[in-house]
């Protein structure tokens, strides 16, 4: 029988023994180090970007659709605002700008749903491989999704904005500070959107068929994110409620910052609160799934 080699080949390797088991200080230190492994998550984001960059045609088709629908939506909004000037506190230019900004968010924030392959992996049992990796699944997928969002912001975000600027004329923030705020809010919006989609995806574990949930999520997101109409259009208490829900953090909040109707600080605080809440919920759901998931297939 071959002799065991010493385990000094990999310094990252924890030794089995009384000081390395779960719950010991050593184990906690390893776990902590695992969580703060920034380079891993940076790399995942990069791969997410590159993975989606291999599907250029799909992204361009998406960009084209988003632009065309932007023009259609803007025409309707223009008619509406010409009939009711100053509606919801926006003038016509602001309404048109809002329209194209939110069209640009559809790709990066996946406002029409999807973007995660998780349900597919749960159904086929490939999730088993994700579960043996020594990294939290939610964080892993978040990093990858941020990379995806960055790619789609470029390829599916810019064209609608340019189309809007060319066809109707839209306003753009002048000072770089506001741009920075917009960028931060868009990133936070992607995180909230991810956290929501992740929860929706995990529901597959409890429901045999996920299509119903997906459709529900899509309706809620399109209606309540500000993607259809500005949420400022909803009157009274309903408006208050709608603007406080997590979907408002996806499109409405960053669009407000873009238009200058909200400060980046307050928008970010709102997004961070929902982001943290939904991610925490997702972490709990992941734990439940880990206990519950019946991994399919041989």
């Amino acid at each position: 029988m071959p002799a065991r080699r010493r385990p000094d080949h990999n310094p990252g390797l924890p030794l089995a023994g009384p000081r390395a088991g779960p719950g010991t200080a050593c184990h906690r230190a390893i776990t902590l180090r695992r969580c703060v492994s920034f380079s891993l998550y940076a790399r995942l984001a990069r791969y997410g970007f590159r993975k989606h960059a291999t599907y250029v045609a799909a992204a361009l088709a998406g960009a084209f659709t988003n632009s065309v629908f932007g023009v259609l939506r803007a025409s309707i909004l223009i008619a509406l605002w010409q009939a009711r000037p100053g509606l919801a506190g926006y003038d016509v230019t602001a309404a048109v700008t809002f329209c194209f900004v939110t069209q640009a968010f559809i790709g990066p924030m996946q406002l029409l749903g999807g973007g995660l392959t998780l349900p597919e992996r749960i159904r086929t049992g490939d999730i088993a491989l994700d579960l043996v990796r020594p990294a939290p699944l939610q964080l892993w997928l978040l990093a990858e999704d941020l990379g995806r969002a960055a790619y789609q912001l470029l390829v599916r975000g810019l064209p609608p904005m340019l189309a809007g600027a060319a066809v109707f004329g839209i306003t753009t923030p002048r000072d770089p500070e506001r741009w920075l705020g917009v960028l931060a809010c868009v990133t936070a919006g992607v995180v909230v959107s991810f956290a929501w989609r992740y929860l929706v995806c995990l529901s597959v574990c409890w429901l045999a068929d996920d299509r119903g949930v997906m459709v529900c999520s899509m309706l809620l997101t399109t209606l309540l994110s500000g993607m259809m109409v500005p949420l400022t259009l909803f009157p009274g208490a309903l408006g208050e409620l709608v603007r406080a829900l997590p979907w408002a953090a996806m499109a409405q909040a960053p669009a407000d910052v873009y238009l200058g109707t909200a400060s980046a600080g307050s928008a970010l605080a709102f997004q961070a609160a929902w982001g943290a809440a939904l991610l925490a919920l997702g972490a709990l759901a992941t734990r439940a799934v880990r206990h519950r998931v019946v991994i399919q297939g041989g």
Binding site: N10, Y47, R50, T54
Partner: protein, 256 residues
Amino acid sequence: MIETERAGRSFKVRGAVVHAVRDLSFRIEPGEFVGCLGPNGAGKSTTIKMLCGILTPTSGRVRVAGLDPSRARTALARRIGVVFGQRTTLWWDLPLRDSFELVRLLYKVDRKLFAARLDELTEALDLGGFTRTPVRQLSLGQRMRGDLAAALLHDPEVLVLDEPTIGLDVVSKAGIRSFLLRVNAERGTTVLLTTHDLGDVERLCRRVLLIDHGRLAFDGSVGDLMATAPGTATIEEVVTRLYTRGRAAPPPVEPV
């Protein structure tokens, strides 16, 4: 290195309880090379999943490298390499070496050690020609070699493989087999594999576990296995005999 003690796993399927694995007890010492046989649905994959912490046993106890797989999953992941022949851990749309790079970051392998290890594996598995090819363009045999490399880059002490030779041609199989032998002999890595290919067992395994109906039906060397049947039986006949104990054996197929 691997130890199960009356380990069992049952599933609830529409109210009924399916016992996939029952009362499974065995012990694998460091450096062993063990093959796990059993008819379809015997509980081999379920056992493997319990060993790498994907499934929690519903009864009994499982220990790998001194750890409880389902509770110390992350600590264990650094010490165990897992390959599911029918699945892949590689990034479908990206070149093979990008997936390897991720393994390096995931297991925090030192850069120098990693480079040396990668060179070694590239040579041993003959990956040189396709590390820059997107994984979706690889053939099954190439992908399997890539998956093996990915599972071994962090130099685990235990390697667990679920049907690593499924769907491979004779040449690819031979390549994978000699690689596994090398890993076991040179690095002392403990290997446990499941397979339906008796050639794997004959050429690789010093010890065979046979699981049937979720229970351990045989545990011993290949010689012991052969000795369960009268003199001249081939390994196919021996295993058929064991699989069909208490059942009517399928009629033999005459060669044309």
